[in-house]
């Protein structure tokens, strides 16, 4: 997607409308004019709920992980390694269940790529996790407690020379190389490049090229899978980019939950400074992906600020300010933050309903949060959604599911501004309960 020449002169609102138009008028070849219209109608549902209006029907956009593969008798390992299975099951699932948005395609990850990279930050089937289990974090202090100064001084160099060599075995030799910022003048160029003659570095470059091919192979499969769903079923992708809250970046994959919680007591100033340093790159990461995909939605899973994970005071002072800065940065670019709030956020609702965030510019998807209060407090300013519990999908009867969705939509969707979804990414569901979820959404969402 190419942004217009006068982009820098456009207001955030004009940018948003431009991006939404681009998403709705995606330049792909649809199977028929009717399917093209279905696609545009579905995007219109999101435009309406984002604007706080009542849509033609409540959009149904469950978070879909490994569910299609479970339904059709395949394991996580097959989904991650066999792209024919990935493409076929992915399409069949969307064809049979007809949600209003495509599942989390990026979550069906390429196993082969991680084999090449020797990814240590996660376990996945065949690498520390059973064949039929989703990939999982291997939480450790991948960033050490005494490395804040290095991170704050130059995040790029820190990533390249300290962090990446730890989380990717294949990138260990990066620690031997100087930072790229050394490359400023002709006399200093040869000393810089001499490092690349070291055999481990040469081997690394070879592996990275192989990783590139493996990533491209997967990307083509993923684009083919989603492309077919869009072109023949008229179902849009619901995320065009992603980012994270700075506190979560530090807590999830760098310091670890425990490490960061201890840092809060032992070196609070460093934690704050590091989070502030991570704001611009968190915005820029999403903007680049969204510009490329032409879809304005930014998927933001948030974790470590949930109820119980910190006090209200810490949420206000530690978690929220830099996350808010990221949200404002995205909104300034005309992007639509679609925040996936894992866990419960009952204690945070007043804070996130922040009036400094312009109204009708983002989407809050909740899990185990009281939806009536979420509607009253957050729903008056922004679109909300989510909430159908994991246990209900896994163990509920169709009647229980029907009753839950009915109650949820009566509470939250009567005047619009609501997206029906699962509270978590679905790897498991009883097929009858899942079917009842979609049917109830259609029945009560009119």
């Amino acid at each position: 997607m190419t942004l217009p020449d006068n982009w820098s002169e456009l207001t955030p609102d004009q940018r948003l409308q431009w991006r939404l138009d681009a998403w709705q008028n995606i330049p792909i070849e649809f199977a028929s004019p009717e399917v093209a219209q279905e696609y545009r109608d579905r995007v219109q549902l999101y435009r309406d709920v984002l604007a706080g209006k009542k849509p033609a029907t409540v959009p149904i956009a469950p978070w879909i992980g490994l569910l299609p593969f479970r339904f059709y008798g395949h394991t996580a390992k097959q989904a991650y390694y066999d792209y024919e299975i990935f493409k076929e099951d992915w399409f069949r699932f969307h064809e049979e269940t007809r949600p209003d948005g495509i599942g989390l395609t990026l979550g069906i990850v390429p196993g082969k790529l991680f084999d090449i990279l020797d990814y240590r930050l996660y376990t996945w089937p065949g690498h520390g996790t059973p064949d039929d289990t989703c990939y999982q974090y291997s939480e450790q202090e991948w960033m050490k407690g005494d490395e804040y100064a290095a991170l704050i001084q130059d995040p790029g160099s820190y990533w390249q020379r300290s962090y990446l060599p730890r989380v990717f075995g294949a990138m260990e030799p990066f620690s031997m190389l100087p930072p790229w910022t050394d490359l400023v003048e002709i006399p200093f160029t040869a000393p810089f490049f001499a490092g690349f003659s070291a055999p481990p570095v040469k081997e690394m470059l070879q592996k990275l090229a192989e990783a590139g091919d493996a990533a491209m192979e997967w990307l083509q499969a993923a684009m083919a899978a989603d492309g077919r769903v869009m072109a023949t079923l008229g179902i849009p992708q619901t995320a065009g980019g992603a980012t994270k809250a700075p506190y979560d970046t530090l807590g999830d994959t760098m310091r670890g939950t425990r490490g960061l919680m201890l840092d809060k007591f032992r070196q609070p100033e460093n934690v704050k400074a590091a989070m502030e340093r991570l704001v611009p790159q968190s915005v820029d990461w999403a903007r680049r992906s969204n510009d490329m995909t032409g879809n304005p939605i930014v998927f933001i899973p948030i974790h470590k600020g949930a109820d119980g994970f910190m006090s209200d005071a810490d949420f206000k002072e530690l978690y929220w300010p830099t996350f808010k800065a990221v949200l404002l940065g995205l909104i300034e670019e005309g992007l639509v933050p679609w925040v996936f709030v894992e866990g419960s956020y009952n204690e945070r609702l007043e804070v996130i309903a922040d009036e400094e965030i312009p109204a009708h510019r983002m989407i809050w998807m909740f899990d185990a949060t009281d939806m009536q209060r979420a509607k009253e407090i957050v729903g008056k300013r922004q679109c909300i959604g989510g909430n159908v519990p994991a246990a209900l999908f896994a163990m509920g009867t169709p009647e229980e599911m029907d009753a839950y969705v009915k109650g949820l939509l009566e509470t939250t969707a009567q005047d619009g501004g609501f997206i029906l979804s699962s509270g978590i990414v679905l790897d498991e569901a009883d097929p009858a309960a899942y079917k009842a979820f979609i049917e109830a959404g259609r029945k009560y969402g009119r």
């Binding site: 999982q136 810490d314 866990g343 519990p389 163990m395």
Partner: protein, 211 residues
């Protein structure tokens, strides 16, 4: 000493708590008084957690201070048998799930509350739980999990305890964000707890320990 130590732990002043402990030990204080002060402090923190005034970071920091104090105490404490313990609890995150934070907090809190805790770690096969219950003579088993796949592992673990003839000897408690009454029923467990304070309370009830 003990009130100053108790206060330092409650206020999570790590450096102060360790310094007071070191000075007290060097001055000939009874290590058991220090243990008692810590237990009192942890009761206060546990109560604050139950009342919604303290949160997971405070529990983890308190646990970290406890570990530091325990390390200071070690040379001064005689080998302690399990004679004075309230009971034995086998804890794990079930097979297929590697989430450890909640489980670790429960382990720390049970330990501080006076239980003998056998921590089997994460992604624990059913047979390992059965063996551990048999060997330790545990009265309580705590099964943790964050993923929905854990429901089936919890069910399989309870069934295996039953098959091994151990179900009558142990009470099984479940924990983890997605756990509900329905999961307890599905897995055939006895109860679930929403946090570490609940877990300690359940273990106390089941072993006849005073609350």
């Amino acid at each position: 000493m003990s009130s100053a130590l108790k206060e330092a732990v409650i206020e999570l002043r790590e450096d102060d708590a360790l310094r007071i402990t070191r000075e007290a030990l060097q001055g000939g204080a009874d290590p058991l008084d220090i243990v008692a002060a810590c237990r009192e402090a942890m009761d206060v923190i546990g109560q604050r957690f139950a009342d919604g005034e303290a949160f997971i970071p405070e529990l983890i920091m308190a646990g970290e201070i406890m570990s530091g104090i325990t390390a200071e105490l070690k040379p001064y404490l005689k080998a302690e048998g399990s004679g004075g313990k309230l009971g034995t609890v086998v804890m794990c995150t079930v097979q297929g799930d590697i989430h450890d934070i909640g489980k670790d907090i429960v382990v720390t809190m049970l330990d501080i509350a006076g239980f003998e805790v056998v921590d089997l770690g994460v992604d624990v096969p059913v047979a390992k739980v059965v063996d551990s219950v048999r060997e330790s003579g545990a009265q309580v088993v705590g099964l943790s999990g964050l993923l929905t796949v854990a429901f089936d592992s919890m069910k399989a673990t309870v069934a295996a305890l039953d098959e091994a003839g151990l179900r009558g000897q142990v009470k099984v408690m479940l924990g983890g964000a997605p756990v509900t009454d329905a999961v307890v029923e599905y897995a055939g467990a006895d109860a679930w707890g929403k946090d570490a304070v609940d877990a300690v309370e359940l273990a106390r009830q089941w072993t006849g320990g005073a609350s």
